[in-house]
Homo-oligomer: 145 residues x 2
């Protein structure tokens, strides 16, 4: 098996995959969880962002593009009725540095989204995934709870 | 935004979603990571298992089914060529207890997979997700690295 999750208490599970790093999967006390870890849906969104983020870092490194800071925000639109499917997700790539080549940054993102990223391309078989990018933006991204 | 990941070092990102629980997303040193957290693909698999796992626990609780132990293993088949898409995933639900009603267990899984689980149903728009279940199995599931 590639990963196993083990029920702990309440709705909390302890998960681990082939790299053997443990993850606590949980939900808010208002939903009968213990509130000690991210929810499965948050993990899904972070999985998408992490997958393309690693690709972009690898590609920028190969392109010799230097940067000081790199962040990705992700948001999705879900159906109201169960199972509250995601219809789409939108990624926002922000990068900071004195000498960012915008074309190369765009190319790196494009290569990830259309060629390398396992997670987003697996999802794109069923839903829309859009993105935009910002070079040296002034606004800080924030998670809305 | 629903979640943000911030590049830290190497291929490592720190992620956080609306519940504000941090996750380290990383990969093996053999792939230029620091080896300090699960990979995005492992997070995807744990997200699927965690989503349906929480549903099943909730439904079993409503059905007054008592159990001592509950685990879910997940494995997937990926394409060889980039982006190494998942074609399918298989879930193995194992439950232990002196008085498990197998029909109720099956019903709980079926309700999750076909009605409640956001993550698996989002993925099922593009790939096949299969499952089987085992009541009081003797075999221990293991992750193969």
């Amino acid at each position: 098996l590639d990963a196993i999750i083990k029920w702990n208490e309440g709705l909390q599970f302890k998960g681990s995959g082939w790299s053997n790093h443990g993850v606590t999967i949980d939900t808010d006390p208002s939903h009968d969880g213990l509130g000690q870890g991210p929810s499965p849906v948050e993990l899904l969104l972070m999985s998408v962002a992490g997958c393309t983020g690693m690709d972009v870092v690898s590609i920028l490194n190969k392109m010799k593009v230097k940067y000081d800071r790199f962040e990705i925000g992700i948001t999705g639109e879900r159906a109201e009725e169960h199972p509250r499917l995601y219809h789409n997700m939108t990624l926002v790539y922000q990068i900071w540095g004195a000498d960012i080549d915008e074309k190369k940054f765009n190319k790196a993102i494009d290569l990830s989204m259309n060629r390398y990223c396992t997670v987003s391309n697996t999802l794109k078989q069923g839903i829309d995934i859009n993105y935009r990018y910002e070079v040296n933006p002034e606004n800080e991204m924030e998670v809305e709870s």
